[in-house]
Each structure stands twice: as structure tokens, then as C-alpha cells.
Amino acid sequence: MTRPAGASTAGTAGVPRSPSATGRNWRQVIRDQPLIPLIALLAVLVVVLEFASPGIVNANWLGTTLRSAIPLAILAACQTLAMLTGGIDLSVGAVASMAAYLIGTLSPSQGPLVAIVIAVAACAIAGLVNGVGIGVFKVHPLIMTLGMSLVVLGLMSVYQLAMVQQGVHIVDALRFVGSGISFGFLPNSLIVFVPIAVIIVVGLRRTGYGRLLFAIGDNPIAARLAGARVWQVHVALYMLSGILAAIAGMLLSGLNNTATVSLVEQQVLPSVAAAVIGGTSIMGGRGGYAGTIVGALILTVVTTLLNVLEMPEAVKQILFGVIIVVVAAAYTRVSGDS
């Protein structure tokens, strides 16, 4: 049975070009390709950096910048994935530090491989508990992960006292991966990061699980009615987040040749900022990892810029905050439906 084509369009208003059509197209492009303005912003910052400190932008700079941005980008992956579902993971700092510290203390006695397995398992368990709390018991992610970070920090402090005799040994492989730079500009941590980035970027678009993350962030009721067991998605998500945090913790301990129970704490808020700057909506349902990576790079370059300019700490903090507001506001202006 066929119906005249007119029937389907009868329900919709005509869509003629309005006078501001070109303005809208420009917005549309930015909205569909948020990477373009982000990369432009990054480029501008790099130019400003070069002006601020002529000669700084070179291969060596590229290597160290990437190297610092990578752990941040991985932590920001945790935030991106959680934010897509409308959540957040404040426990990444404690969990990542736990991974670093466990490996540091266990590797002398257990060997690096076993130590890494234990550490990643511990982080996955912390993530599992987060996921069960959030997915099954419907605890707000902010509260659940905040509580989890206290639990992990407390347990690690207790553990630390028990392990003082063991000392901390940073596994050579982690040092190599975390801090090494090959060919003068390629940090070795790319070996870890590139596969992670590719899996996340592609996975978000082309896997059923990726789709579900967006779906849950957009409308959990709809996802449930369509047959998704939302709690499973949450549990998997926060476990994944725990494992990613573990990887970031390992890279950071390798990069800094240190493992302490609060090593990564200072990176938590920047990781949220990187995801926000990268265009992922904290309300869920919108965003992606490619933007987050650029966001992490932007934050890294901004930090370098502020370091190089020797801004007083107070000014640094103020500028840091202002940049987040301005970028996020620009995003909302462009992509929102004001």
C-alpha cells in the first residue's frame, strides 16, 4: 500500500532559508565538527606561546607536551565516558594513585607483571563498586565517586604504613613508557595512548556499547524501555574508568619516577576541565573523545604558557578558570538552541 509523498511532509513546516542562513551554516559546521574550532584554539595558543617565549615550539617541546598531555587525556577519558552518561568520576585521582602505589610497593616482591595485574584488578574493583552503587543503588555519581575516593585514600594510607619497609620501586618498563621520548619528539607513552584513543573514539561511534553510553546519558528511561539493562552499562563504564585511571596512574608514576598515595589527586579537576573544554556535555548524551584529547592538549599548552610567563599563582588560577568558562560558554552558544 503506497501513500502519496505529500502525506509525510504535511506534518512539517516548510524550511526556507532565513536571512541569517550563512551565520547558521557557520554554526552548523562548528556544531557538527566541534573539533575544528578547538584545534584552531589550540593553534592560536601555540602561536601565543611561541610569541611569549620565542623558540620554545620545537620538536623537543612537542615531545614533552604530548608526554604530559597523555596521562591527563587518559584521565579525561574516564570523565568523558562518565559524562556521556550524565555522570562524573571524582575517584580517578585516588584510584590512579592506588595503581601507581601498589605497583611501586609490590613489584620488588611480586615482580612487575604480577604487581601490575594486582593493581589493575584493584582499580577495576573500585570501579565495580562505583558502578554498582551508581547503576544498581542509584547513588548520585558525584557522591558515589567522592565517597570512593575517600575510601581508597584511607585504605592506601593504612597500607602505606604497613609497606614502608618495602620501599617504592618504579618498574623500568613503566619508566620507559611513561617518560621516554623516541626520535626526539615521540613520547613512548603513545604506544599505550594511541590504541586507547582509537578504541575509545571509534568505539563510541561504532559499538553497541558506545551507543548505549550516549543513550543512557540522553534518556535512561528510553534506553531501559528499548531493552538496555542500564545498570550493566554503568558497572562496565565505571570499571572501565577504573582501569583507564590505573593506566594513567602507571604512566604518571613512570613519568615522575614516583609513586605516592596522592600522586594523581591534583589532576582530577583538570581532567574534568579537559572533557568540558573538549565539548562533552556534563549533562550527558553529547560529546566525544577526540574533543577531549584536544582539550587535554589545550590545557597542557595553557599551563606551559602560564609557567613560561611566570604568572603569579593567583593569576594562573584566575586565568585557568576564565578560560574554562569562556570556552564552555562559546560551546553552549554555538551548539545550544538558545
Binding site: G55, S157, G180, L255, T260, Q266, T303, T304, N307
Partner: protein
């Protein structure tokens, strides 16, 4: 750990046994603070004169610490040792404690309450000593990278005073870059890398607390070593001894100040009051340039400890425990 319980049980009927409270207001998970607490416990055991050390320890500020001190008062301890969150803030509670006949000792930083004793690392002197050595090692001229702690933290402020004093005395020295590390290794590493990337020329580094990471960063970037001053942290001391071409010095900031506090408390309790209410533990400087310094570094070095742990494990005349006793971290009566 068995010595602790043995001491506690054996002395039960003997000499007077005191209970001591310890209030710490910061840095859950901070290695230096943990070492401080362990040293207090170890010294309490060693003294044989303490039946119990109760520790209130959490991340808090003045209001929280006020409450903690009052909680300790409610426990009827004989002495309270405080690592204070500020010089004046705790005075009301300290006054209540002294009024209740409790001996109050402030360690690490000082308090202004009249009845309290202060036993502290002299942070201004700490910075002055290191900076003076550094500027001399730089030949009295050149640019220094100045890596501070947490902006707004009292210890950081005191250290800045000492650093500035040394700077004023060395006209040839300029500051190449001032970085605020927040005592965070990750932040500090980023900063030194940025400074090197920017091509900033520097001839020496003074760093507050975060040190081995800075050496690692120089090494990682193939930057020539410059004279560097850090603290007596396990990782840095090992580097000073083993890194070829690294010229540097460690200034002691002993965490065993906690144990020293116990000793002072017991002295006061037994009637041996010190001449002044303020006792400074003067920092020492161990440089790897002279033999005396090297010997001290060698004696202190302990590669098995975590790199961020302080090595000033004992303070002469103030602590009597052995290193294993400290590391066991058991107080009187602890299993």
C-alpha cells in the same frame, strides 16, 4: 614491633606512665607527616615512660584542629603534641589544655599561646642555609630556578623569607623562573620541563620538597646538571650519592621532630623544663661536595625507603629509637 608491646607490658608496674595525644592537621597520605607520627610512636615506646599515644590525624584546618585538641583534653591525656595548622588559631584550646594541667608542645611550626612549648624545624633557616650554599656553588652569579611549595602555606612563607634573605646577600644571582609546585611531583615535573622547553637558561635550582623528580626531569631531557638544593628525601639523597656529575645538597627537615616532641613532653612532665619555651631544631646541610656532607649522606641513605620519605629519621639528643623501630611504626601497646 615486639619491643613496643614488651616495653608497654614490662613497665606497667614501674615508673610513671604518661599518655600523650598527638594532633595532626594535614596530609593524609603525606609521607613526611606519616614519618613524623611514626617517630612519635617509636620514641614513646623507647622512652618506656609512655603508656599510650593517641593520634588525631586528618586533613583539616584550624576549626577542625581546635575540636581535635578539645577531644584530646576530654581524654585526659598528660601531654598534647600539635603540628599546628596556624600560629594563633589554636590558642583558645591550648589555653584550656594548659589550664587543665596538660603539657602542650607544638612541633614543626610554632604557636603563639603563652603556655605552650614550641619545638620546630626552623623553616626560614632551612631555606637560607640551602640557598646560601647553592649561590656559592653557582659562583655567586647566574640565574636560579626557584621552586616553591603551596602558595599561602605558612612553611612556604617562612622558607620564602629565608630564600629572599640569601638572595639579597648574593647580588649576582637572579631568578630565572619562579614555580609554585604545590609540593606535587606531577606539577613540579611539568614545570621544570616547561622551563627547559622554553629554553630558559639557569645555573642552579632551589626546590622546596619535590627534588628527586627534578633531577629525573633534567636527566630525561638530557639537560646538563646544575647545582641543586633539595631536602633530605630518600630518593634525592640516593641521587646525590650515585648520579655522576650531579652537584647538590640536601637540607634536613627531619620528620623525627615528632619523636623529639615526645622527648620534650616527657622532660617537661618530669619537671625538667627547658630554658625557653621555643626550641629550634636547626637544619643541617649535607652536600655531596665535601667529605663531611658525603659521609652524612651515606649514613642516611636508604634506597629501600620510598623516594619521598624523609631520611632525617633521628635527631641527635632528641630521639633514641633505631631505624627499624621507627619503620615498624608501632606505639606503646600496639599489636
Amino acid at each position: 614491633g615486639s619491643s613496643g608491646s614488651a616495653g608497654g607490658a614490662g613497665g606497667a608496674g614501674g615508673a610513671t606512665k604518661y599518655t600523650i595525644g598527638f594532633s595532626n592537621a594535614g596530609g593524609v597520605g603525606n609521607g613526611w607527616r606519616e614519618a613524623m607520627l611514626c617517630s612519635a610512636k617509636a620514641q614513646a615506646v623507647k622512652s618506656g615512660n609512655v603508656s599510650k599515644v593517641t593520634i588525631i590525624h586528618r586533613d583539616t584546618d584550624a576549626p577542625g584542629q581546635l575540636s581535635d585538641i578539645r577531644t584530646l583534653i576530654a581524654q585526659n591525656v598528660n601531654a598534647i603534641i600539635i603540628n599546628p595548622s596556624g600560629p594563633d588559631a589554636l590558642n583558645p584550646a591550648i589555653a584550656e589544655a594548659t589550664a587543665a594541667g596538660i603539657t602542650v608542645i607544638a612541633v614543626d611550626a610554632s604557636v603563639t599561646a603563652p603556655g605552650a612549648y614550641n619545638l620546630s624545624n626552623d623553616q626560614e633557616q632551612y631555606a637560607y642555609l640551602g640557598a646560601s650554599w647553592l649561590f656559592k656553588a653557582m659562583g655567586g652569579k647566574g640565574a636560579v630556578v626557584y621552586m616553591r611549595g603551596i602558595a599561602g602555606h605558612p612553611a612556604d612563607t617562612d622558607r620564602d623569607k629565608g630564600f629572599q634573605r640569601a638572595l639579597a646577600e648574593n647580588k649576582g644571582i637572579t631568578i630565572a623562573n619562579t614555580a609554585v609546585t604545590k609540593w606535587d611531583p606531577v606539577t613540579a615535573t611539568r614545570q621544570i620541563n616547561d622551563i627547559m622547553s622554553a629554553g630558559t637558561k639557569f645555573d642552579g635550582i632551589w626546590t622546596s620538597g619535590v627534588d628527586s623528580n627534578i633531577v629525573d626531569a633534567l636527566k630525561g631531557a638530557n639537560h646538563a646538571y646544575v647545582p641543586i638544593v633539595g631536602a633530605d628525601n630518600a630518593g634525592f639523597v640516593t641521587q646525590l650519592l650515585n648520579e655522576p656529575g650531579l652537584k647538590g645538597a640536601a637540607v634536613t627537615n627531619p620528620a623525627s621532630i615528632g619523636g623529639a616532641g615526645v622527648t620534650l613532653a616527657l622532660q617537661v612532665l618530669s619537671g625538667k623544663k627547658p630554658a625557653s619555651n621555643t626550641v629550634h631544631v636547626t637544619p643541617e646541610l649535607w652536600s655531596n661536595e665535601d667529605d663531611a656532607g658525603k659521609a652524612k649522606l651515606k649514613a642516611a641513605a636508604d634506597a629501600t625507603l620510598p623516594p619521598t620519605w624523609p631520611l632525617g629519621l633521628t635527631i641527635q639528643d632528641w630521639t633514641t629509637y633505631s631505624k627499624p623501630e621507627l619503620i615498624a611504626c608501632k606505639g606503646p601497646g600496639d599489636a
